[in-house]
């Protein structure tokens, strides 16, 4: 192979031109133990006329072998590059931080110099990892140490910012630094609690650049970019991203004289080595999330951070009552599109508003996460007239200016014509139940004069109710009473006599009067006598026959009847006895007065017995 390269060199040597020389120096490792050997390489590019490169000097290292030289010529797009690589194997002379001094040479009156390279040499007994941190330049003081276990390979997460406002975008790019990696695959995206994460698109074959880190040359592939939007405040952590890499492991060979010859990148090929899978993780990133400033906060701010604009559109400005309108609000811009919320809308009362249809579109093709949110409202004006759909104020926080802004949509004035002769049942929205009733109207009013009632009146405040029912009650009670009365009259003689006493007495008196008119005075007196004595004995329950004046007097006294009445009764009965036996001696007028006296006695007695 070398032969071939030489042949090419010979063929193309005439085409070489003098160009600026590029020069770089690097080592394969920067951390070694005292027993290790490092390979120091100086690469010179851009000339075919290679100068002599001096041997690295200094007391820190001794040259074990070398220089071994190789040169190559490449023709890319018609331009030729040739390069020369010179390699030395160096062994440290002591432990600590050693320096490979810069090497300089002159070429066409110009002096070129390599950078000095620092190597840490530790005692074999000490842990390898202990010296690592000093090598790794830290991104920011609060970043935790990246656990680097593999020198050949590491994954670096670089946040665009480490201190942000809540809702502000942080872009994190994940770069793989490697030497011999054939393929890699993403195993796990970082977990980030308290963040909304959005991925930027990835390419299958990322751009590979060469970068020198601490004197070691790495290939750098940008494998992933992620955008994070914190949804909480405080100190949050973006967890490591983990990838699997297929690493080429050079075949183990015996050390020989040809080692140097074969220790060439040309041979570090899969053809010569086997591969193995290695898992690498990026370092976790600490982010400090500041709350949004209270100062200048707008009243309807709902958490949008970024830069936004709002647009509103309506399908028509002229409509008829109950015809649906479509109103769209489109918010577009850069920022946390997913956290956008429309502020409360103040639609007029006469407009029926349905739940909006929300369409979110996040665009990750650009440098920053952008997007649009469309709110589509269906409005149905329920009444005719002019309606104003008010302007919508959408507030957002611009982190680059650390200020609140407000985007304003336009207002719409809509003219709603009334729908003539359209009955209310049809305009109450489109509901399932109504389909069967469509075209049906409410029943017509009743026009006959109704019965009027006083407000808060009830059946219990109606007079007729009480009157009729009281009457019914009276009927029932009187029926019961009548029955009781007749039964008692039939069964209880004394009671019957007592009840009938006054009517019997009246009858007797009537008969007496009849007799008196005829002129039969004797019978008249006896009838009067009978009537009075009969009345008293009926009332007092005495035997019907043989009741004398004395007995009556005693009984009346027992009843505590007034003495006057007893005296009058007694004297009347005495007189009647007398007159009965001295018949005809009394004039008609005397008879009449006697009759009246008897009447009076009975009525006065009826009050006391």
């Amino acid at each position: 192979m070398i032969l071939k390269q030489f042949l090419l060199l010979i063929i193309f040597v005439s085409f070489s031109f003098a160009k600026d020389i590029k020069m770089s120096a690097y080592v394969d490792r920067t951390q070694i133990t005292a027993d290790d050997v490092i390979t120091f390489t100086v690469e010179v590019e851009g000339t075919t006329d290679f100068p002599n490169i001096p041997t690295p000097g200094g007391d820190d290292f001794v040259v074990i072998s070398g220089p071994s030289q190789s040169s190559s010529i490449q023709i890319i797009n018609g331009s030729m590059t040739s390069s020369k690589t010179v390699k030395w194997r160096l062994a440290p002379t002591r432990t600590g931080k050693l320096e490979i001094k810069s090497i300089g040479f002159k070429h066409k009156r110009k002096t070129y110099k390599t950078n000095p390279i620092f190597i840490t040499v530790v005692d074999k007994s000490r842990k390898f990892a202990s010296g690592q941190n000093s090598q790794q330049p830290q991104k920011s003081p609060q970043q935790p140490a990246r656990p680097k276990t593999e020198h050949e390979l590491y994954l670096e997460a670089t946040p665009s910012k480490t201190t942000v406002y809540k809702g502000e975008e942080i872009d994190v790019s994940f770069d793989l630094y490697y030497k011999n990696v054939k393929t890699f695959s993403r195993k796990k995206l970082p977990d980030a609690q308290g963040f909304w994460m959005e991925e930027f698109p990835t390419r299958n074959n990322p751009d590979v650049t060469t970068e020198v880190v601490n004197g070691i040359v790495y290939k750098k592939a940008s494998i992933q970019r992620l955008a994070f939007f914190p949804t909480k405040t405080g100190e949050l952590t973006i967890d490591p991203m983990i990838i699997d890499c297929e690493v080429i492991v050079p075949r183990q060979r015996r050390k020989s004289l040809f080692d140097d010859f074969f220790d060439d990148s040309f041979f570090s090929d899969s053809f010569f080595g086997s591969t193995k899978i290695k898992t690498v993780a990026s370092q976790p990133i600490k982010i400090i999330v500041k709350p949004l400033p209270e100062e200048g906060k707008l009243s309807n701010f709902s958490g949008a951070v970024g830069k936004f604009s709002i647009q509103s559109t309506i399908d028509t400005l002229e409509t008829t009552q109950d015809q649906a309108l479509t109103l769209k609000y489109k918010i577009s811009g850069i920022g946390n599109i997913n956290a956008l919320k429309l502020p409360d809308l103040n639609f007029p009362k006469s407009v029926e508003v349905f739940e909006p249809k929300v369409e979110r579109d996040v665009n990750n093709k650009r440098n920053k996460i952008q997007g649009t949110v469309v709110y589509e409202y269906v409005l149905i004006p329920r009444r005719a007239g002019n309606i104003t759909l008010p302007a919508l104020f959408f507030s957002y926080f611009d982190p680059s200016q650390a200020k609140y802004h407000r985007a304003v949509s336009r207002t719409f004035n809509i003219n709603v014509r009334s729908q003539e002769k359209l009955f209310a049942s049809q305009n109450l929205g489109l509901r399932k139940e109504e389909i069967s009733l469509l075209g049906e109207d409410i029943r017509f009013i009743s026009r006959e004069n109704p019965t009027w009632y006083r407000s808060n009146s009830s059946i219990f405040s109606e007079a007729w109710f009480w009157i009729v029912n009281t009457f019914t009650l009276i009927i029932v009670l009187s029926a019961v009473g009548f029955r009781w009365w007749t039964e008692k009259m039939e069964t209880n003689v004394a009671f019957a006599r007592r009840r009938k006493a006054s009517s019997t007495a009246q009858k007797g008196l009537k008969e007496a009067k009849k007799v008196m008119d005829v002129g039969d005075k004797e019978t008249f007196f006896s009838f009067l006598d009978h009537a009075i004595i009969g009345y008293i004995s009926d009332r007092l329950g005495l035997s019907t026959s043989g009741v004398g004046r004395q007995e009556i007097e005693i009984k009346l006294k027992e009843r505590n009847v007034d003495v006057e009445i007893i005296k009058n009764t007694d004297s009347l009965l005495k007189r009647l006895d007398l007159e009965r036996f001295s018949s005809g001696a009394l004039s008609d007028s005397d008879c009449k007065s006697l009759f009246e006296e008897s009447q009076n006695i009975i009525s006065s007695l009826s009050k006391v017995i």
Binding site: R431, N449, T451, S455, I459, F471, I475
Partner: protein, 255 residues
């Protein structure tokens, strides 16, 4: 006795005269309202009908017509409120139930009513056959018939007719015993003011009777609510599905 009876008769006649005077006034308003309704001047119609209520008179038909006028003028909440009131007076009126059903289609909130046990449903239907005044007529008539037949069978020797009169008496007693509790039940329904209809377009229901408290849910015009409690200008309401909250008293109309 006779003098008192005379006085009562006189008072009744006087009351009737007064009533007749006011009644013709109300009838005039009622007819004006109907006229306005016919001319599709629903606002005027509403005003006329409402003025009758303001005078302290009401009737099922009036509430029905008022509900119609409100419905036509687009006021669903008031329409439903008045149909519900009309139902108190005319529980078995088909026109009212049909219109209430149509008006309910326009209510925004759909709250599923839990199904009722069929016996309760039948019982409710039976109670709603008549208003309390209707049941009162049954009560009164059956009482009179029972009383008369009782009087006859108790006090007179009816011979062959006795069985017939007895039967009439027992039958009317049964009618009386059925109608009396129904009347009381209807009376309780009619004087029950525990239900209301939301008359504002949308009302926020709060956790406490203070304007600053947490909003629990929103009820819309026409929704029927149970009023559980009152605190100054706030009603504590319960929806059919059991949600409770406080709303301003002005946004609900008591049935």
């Amino acid at each position: 006795m006779g003098r008192i009876a005379n006085k009562i008769v006189f008072l009744i006649l006087l009351a009737n005269c007064l009533y007749a005077g006011e009644s013709s006034d109300i009838l005039f308003l009622f007819e004006k309202g109907n006229e306005a309704y016919l001319n599709e001047d629903y606002k005027e119609s509403v005003n006329r009908y409402e003025s009758i209520i303001a005078k302290g008179y009401e009737s099922g038909t009036l509430y029905f017509n008022l509900g119609n006028a409100y419905y036509k003028s687009g006021n669903i909440g008031q329409a439903i409120l008045n149909y519900e009131r009309a139902l108190k007076w005319l529980p078995n009126d088909e026109n009212v139930t049909v219109n209430l059903k149509i008006a309910n289609l326009g209510v925004k909130d759909r709250i599923d009513t839990p199904p009722e046990f069929f016996l309760f449903r039948w019982y409710k239907k039976f109670v709603n056959l008549f208003s309390s005044r209707g049941w009162a007529i049954w009560v009164t008539l059956s009482a009179i018939v029972a009383a008369l037949s009782f009087t006859l069978s108790w006090n007179l020797d009816l011979r062959k007719l006795r069985f017939l009169v007895r039967f009439i008496m027992y039958a009317s007693i049964v009618v009386f015993l059925v109608a009396l509790p129904e009347m009381v039940q209807r009376y309780r329904i009619e004087t029950n003011h525990d239900y209301g209809i939301i008359i504002d377009y949308s009302v926020k229901s709060l956790a406490a009777p203070q304007g600053s408290s947490t909003e629990l849910f929103i009820v819309h015009e026409g929704t029927k609510v149970n009023i559980l409690d009152q605190d100054r200008d706030w009603y504590k309401i319960e929806l059919i599905d059991g949600k409770q909250g406080w709303i301003p008293a002005g946004s609900v109309g008591i049935i």
